[in-house]
């Protein structure tokens, strides 16, 4: 055992030294203009967002009458409106509640299922896996009407749990898919050793296995958060007032009170913040995470 690990260590250190030298060489060889492409792309990404944030600090008169690249009469009025009016800020609270619920339910249910798919073969496993994935392919528009009727029948309309359960439609399959990818990367010998050492399945799963795939769980949570946070059609259909998400409140304002551009822009800018925070936390896993653990 010890000889094996020493030899792997030497190999690893050799590898590291080699790759460092190589990386240096490659950096020298890489064209100096390589940064232009990502930079231009990021500018393209940030321009519309900048325009939105810029607008959120302007007064409505300045937005409609003048064309200014920076707010001339810098105002926080638009944000004050949102933070003092419950019908606005409750939208954020509602969104965060159902997104959090959905993330917990999706990842919680997906963990054992992903383990089953990554470790065992069982009757109909492949069909089941594709059937699960097919729910990720289902256009939400198809489910709008039946969801409304189903949740009405259960008296769940306008509750956070209704939206959280409905979003499981596409988040559970995705979480299973991601977690299965990460779990397959963990050698099976670890499970077997643990069982021989007398670990029961739950104890093994929580004490040993879950820490091993912690990054995978993080990525799965990230995706569940992401798709639940950005979805509007189903969330809007299943809520009326008490659980209405912020995104839906924004659409109502567009049609009702004419064009209060400043407040709309401020509300839009605030919806970017939770996503930005979440990305920041998972930044080190983001690349592998987007590949669903299957690189």
């Amino acid at each position: 055992m010890s000889t094996v690990s020493t030899s792997t260590n030497t190999l690893a250190s050799m590898d590291a030294a080699q790759s460092k030298a190589l990386r240096r060489a490659r950096r020298r060889a890489a064209p100096r203009t390589a940064w232009v492409v990502p930079t231009l792309y990021i500018i393209f990404l940030l321009l519309p967002i900048y325009w939105l944030i810029n607008m959120s600090f302007k007064t409505n008169t300045e937005i409609t009458s003048a064309f200014t690249l920076f707010p001339r009469d810098f105002t926080l009025h638009n944000y004050t409106v949102i933070f003092t009016d419950p019908s606005w800020y409750r939208g954020y609270i509602n969104s965060i509640i159902y997104v959090a619920l959905n993330t917990v339910i999706s990842v919680g249910a997906a963990l054992p299922a992903a383990y089953a798919f990554s470790r065992y073969r069982f009757l109909g496993d492949k069909h089941l896996f594709f059937w699960l994935l097919s729910n990720r392919m289902a256009p939400p528009a198809v489910f709008v009407l039946p969801f409304f009727q189903l949740y009405s029948a259960f008296g769940l309309i306008d509750t956070h749990i209704a939206v959280a359960l409905a979003h499981c439609l596409f988040n559970v399959p995705l979480a299973v898919w991601i977690l299965e990818g990460f779990m397959s990367g963990v050698p099976k010998e670890i499970d077997e050793t643990a069982y021989i050492d007398g670990y029961s399945f739950p104890r093994f799963f929580f004490k040993i296995f879950m820490p091993l795939i912690a990054s995978g769980i993080g990525v799965a949570c990230f995706f569940a958060f992401m798709f639940s946070w950005v979805e509007l059609l189903i969330a809007r259909t299943l809520t009326t007032t008490d659980a209405k998400p912020i995104a839906a409140i924004m659409t109502r304002t567009v049609s009702a009170s004419g064009m209060d551009w400043g407040v709309l822009a401020a509300a839009g800018s605030l919806t970017i913040i939770p996503g930005a925070l979440v990305i920041y936390f998972v930044r080190n896993y983001i690349a592998k995470g987007f590949a669903l653990g299957r690189v």
Binding site: Q18, S19, L22, R23, R26, W35, P38, Y41, I42, F44, L45, L47, I49, W51, M55, I63, F67, I105, G108, P112, A113, A116, R119, Y120, R121, F122, L132, S134, N135, A138, P139, P140, V142, V144, P146, F147, Q149, A166, C168, V172, V230, L232, L233, M250, T251, A265, I272, P274, G275, A276, I279, R283, I286, A287, K288, F290, A291, L292, R294, V295
Partner: protein
């Protein structure tokens, strides 16, 4: 990995099954139910057989919306996949630039879809938007509210803005997983930049590219919120995609039968195409 045959694994899948049964099978059965029935209201239904499907397959409205969807998905894939590869190839591989690029690029992916629509609606407006105003100052006749071509361009640029990062992140993940030894070997062989791309980078990205194409096809084919916010399906019906048409039918006009029939056909098309992608993907995985 060698998997053991164990049917007790079904117990582990059970929670997911119950959850998805509640949120997928029951609603889907409702749709199937409606698609073969007709009603005059008051919850009285009678058998209509396959009438709704026949009507749907003979309606030009459906075929036009489907054609728009296919053209849209085609354009989106043709732009986003090569562009995503190009950006991923030029991304920094180490240093402080990596997290900065990743975080900034992932930003559009986490903006609620109707806010994305709203951002572009405002951005493109001729009176108050940076893009629309700049274009009209430059003398370009641009108005996405009235001109169908401009509306299409706006929606496509919006989607490129929104989703190219997904392709970039996937390709980047594929690229960083290539061991340095591969490049070393290529260097010894004196391989050109193109052959490094063609014979090392592209094959290594194959798997993630398939995921990218699968995800981008599925999501662009069910696009609803963003064009709904930007153009509302107009001008005329020029940007009415299947989802928009379907929601209009189901919720706006409450035509249960036709809407249900359309839902099923729509769902089947997405599943069929995705199944082809999925089969190709898993078979590729088994070969390598």
């Amino acid at each position: 990995m060698e998997k053991t045959w164990n049917n007790r694994a079904w117990f582990l899948v059970l929670p997911v099954l119950l959850l998805v049964a509640f949120s997928a099978i029951i609603p889907l059965m409702t749709v199937v139910n409606y698609s073969v029935q007709d009603t005059f209201g008051n919850n009285v239904f009678f058998w209509a057989g396959l009438d709704w499907f026949q009507e749907l397959l003979h309606s030009p409205r459906f075929w036009q919306a489907l054609a728009r969807n296919l053209v849209f998905s085609g354009i989106i894939l043709a732009i986003e996949v090569p562009l995503g590869i190009l950006i991923a190839l030029n991304m920094p591989k180490a240093g402080w630039g990596v997290p900065v690029c990743l975080v900034l690029m992932a930003l559009p992916l986490l903006i609620p879809w109707n806010v994305v629509g709203m951002i572009w609606q405002v951005f493109g407006r001729v009176d108050i938007g940076l893009l629309g105003k700049t274009l009209s100052l430059l003398g370009v006749d641009y108005n996405y509210v009235q001109d169908p071509v401009d509306a299409w361009i706006t929606i496509i640029v919006m989607d490129v803005w929104h989703w190219t990062s997904l392709v970039v992140l996937l390709c980047y993940a594929g690229l960083v997983s290539i061991p340095d030894a591969y490049y070393q070997a290529a260097k010894i062989d004196g391989a050109s930049g193109w052959s490094v791309f063609r014979y090392i980078q592209l094959p290594k990205m194959h798997r993630v590219l398939l995921i990218a194409v699968l995800l981008r096809f599925m999501d662009s084919f069910m696009i609803y919120t963003e064009p709904f916010v930007i153009t509302g399906g107009g001008p005329g019906n020029e940007t009415t995609f299947l989802s928009i048409d379907l929601v209009k039918m189901a919720v706006g006009q409450f035509d249960l039968g036709p809407a249900a029939a359309m839902s099923l056909v729509y769902f089947l098309i997405v599943m069929l195409v995705s199944w082809v992608f999925y089969t190709v993907m898993t078979n590729y995985g088994q070969e390598s």
